[in-house]
């Protein structure tokens, strides 16, 4: 799925008003100032990356606290108060530079499924960061019904985004980053048995991928479809084991001072932002 096919019904071959709007974005301020410069596009891209770093650190620290794995002796509200200005700076910078990058590069994004994934997961991530986790942290882990509803909506947006991410040929290898992020969080929160099962799963899947990959692509018959299939199977199996282990840890693990629901929200909040970043990278790679 992408915005190009959402904008109009393409089967009739009729002209689509959206196409002209997208094509003209380069000539609208502020993109119009940058489009004929050598450095403009690259400089904006670089700032986008710097902002990603800043917001990533803030999101990860705050939500790991909600998951209960770092700075767990300190009140979440203290962490939220100290991180807020930097999180806001990072998010504003990422959005402003992101819009400019999009205006300078509109036709590529218009037809890119990865960009569609990025926008859907961005909605989820923004709801999580500015409507859910900030409020939960400020009230030291207390959760109200409106926040529950906001978290549910954000979770559905995120599920939708990863459904397209993993279901589209070309973007699906990008879900590797999502699974990796999930395992990292699992290693941080997991008890010994969980981390051992997780480690064994990763080792086995890596071996299967490398050996299987050699036979379908390195041998005399280079079968790219089979290789993409193998990639999909390995990442999916990794994801299934991960979901099981994370669920096991969250619902039966160390209680800490937050509830399983708050832990889940912290987890999904990090993963939403990772989805935004990973799908963004795979706009260029798919």
């Amino acid at each position: 799925m992408d915005f190009y096919n959402l904008a109009c019904d393409r089967s009739q071959g009729a002209p689509c008003a959206m196409d002209a709007w997208v094509a003209g974005l380069q000539d609208v301020f502020p993109a119009s100032l940058l489009k004929d410069t050598l450095w403009g596009f690259a400089a904006v891209q670089a700032v986008h990356l710097l902002a990603l770093g800043l917001l990533g650190g803030c999101v990860i620290l705050l939500n790991l606290r909600l998951v209960g794995v770092t700075l767990s002796n300190d009140p979440p509200s203290w962490l939220e108060r100290n991180l807020r200005p930097w999180l806001v700076t990072g998010v504003v910078a990422v959005l402003v530079t992101g819009v400019i990058i999009g205006m300078l590069n509109p036709e590529k994004l218009y037809t890119s499924p990865a960009f569609f994934v990025k926008m859907v997961s961005l909605v989820a991530a923004l709801i999580f960061s500015f409507g859910v986790t900030n409020a939960i942290a400020r009230s030291e882990g207390q959760i109200t019904n409106p926040i529950r509803i906001a978290a549910g909506v954000a979770f559905l947006f995120w599920l939708w985004s990863i459904g397209i991410f993993g279901g589209t040929t070309g973007t699906n290898p990008g879900t590797f980053h999502l699974v990796t992020a999930g395992y990292l969080i699992l290693f941080l929160m997991g008890r010994r048995l969980t981390t051992m099962i997780a480690g064994a799963t990763i080792a086995i899947l890596t071996l299967v991928y490398l050996i299987g990959g050699y036979f379908v692509i390195g041998g005399p018959y280079a079968d790219y479809d089979a290789f993409m299939g193998l990639t999909k199977i390995c990442i999916s199996l990794g994801a299934v084991v991960l979901v099981g282990l994370l669920g096991f840890e969250i619902f039966t693990g160390r209680a800490g001072d937050t509830t399983p629901v708050v832990k889940l929200i912290g987890l999904f909040s990090i993963l939403s932002w990772v989805t935004v970043a990973a799908s963004g990278r795979w706009i260029g790679l798919s």
């Binding site: 690259a42 670089a46 990356l49 710097l50 990603l52 770093g53 800043l54 999101v59 990278r281």
Partner: protein
């Protein structure tokens, strides 16, 4: 000497009559390069954010009411872990095009700032941190601490920006380049050798039309004389040409 080693690594190592070198195979791989590069970039979310928060604390701009030692103890492990991941994926990515990166201006500049950042870390641990007990709780640490924090923050910003610029072919060896760039990137040992603005004037068909925009627009070798392409389109070409060799 290093040039010859990296050329061998890029073009010959692992190559047989039937197959390209391992470096070229990795670069042309279906997903391996993309996943490695994606991991390198996404790890910034852990690395950059956490180290900047510590730097900002040293500058007296963040976590003012929190002892530095506490932030350092709780947050730095994330930074160190992410740094290890970035170094490992960075080395693997280097092996995709070792000779080209060796002669890349931005790559070289990035390595210099990595050394500056490393020297700063060394100086901080050996000298500045010795007095930590004196300023640990201070919301406004002394100048020495601020200096170290500022050097760290600035170098990592520059390292990330230069890292992004590696993907652009503005100053690649083999194009007409200013003397300093030719020297800094050691273009003399790159295939094609040193090419200057004078070459471009004497042979515009090969090196593109000369003019005021000589160094302000990417010039394409051989057949790239059609100056009509917009610079935005050139950015895109630069991207796909340099990212994974697809």
């Amino acid at each position: 000497m290093l040039h010859e080693f990296f050329r061998w690594l890029q073009e010959d190592f692992g190559a047989t009559e039937m197959a390209e070198s391992w470096s070229q195979q990795f670069r042309g791989s279906l997903n391996l390069w993309g996943i490695t590069e994606g991991t390198h970039v996404l790890t910034l979310m852990i690395f950059a954010g956490t180290i900047w928060l510590i730097d900002l604390r040293m500058l007296g701009l963040a976590f003012k009411g929190t002892p530095f030692s506490k932030l350092n103890e709780k947050v730095l492990p994330f930074t160190v872990f992410a740094f290890a991941v970035m170094i490992i994926t960075g080395v693997i990515l280097f092996l995709a095009k070792p000779m080209d990166y060796y002669h890349n201006v931005w790559f070289r500049a990035k390595m210099i700032f990595l050394l500056i950042a490393a020297a700063n870390i060394f100086w901080f641990h050996r000298r500045v941190q010795k007095t930590e007990h004196e300023w640990d709780n201070s919301p406004n640490p002394p100048a020495m601490v601020k200096l170290s924090g500022a050097v760290s923050l600035t170098s990592w910003v520059i390292i990330i920006v230069f890292g992004r610029f590696i993907a652009y072919n503005w100053y690649d060896c083999g194009k007409p380049l200013p003397g300093f760039v030719n020297w800094f990137a050691e273009c003399a040992s790159y295939p094609g050798g040193i090419i200057t603005a004078a070459d471009q004037e004497s042979d515009p068909l090969i090196y593109g039309a000369a003019g005021p925009a000589l160094f302000s627009e990417p010039v394409q070798l051989a057949g790239g004389a059609s100056g009509a392409t917009s610079s935005t389109a050139d950015h895109m070409t630069a991207d796909t040409q340099n990212e994974g060799g697809r």
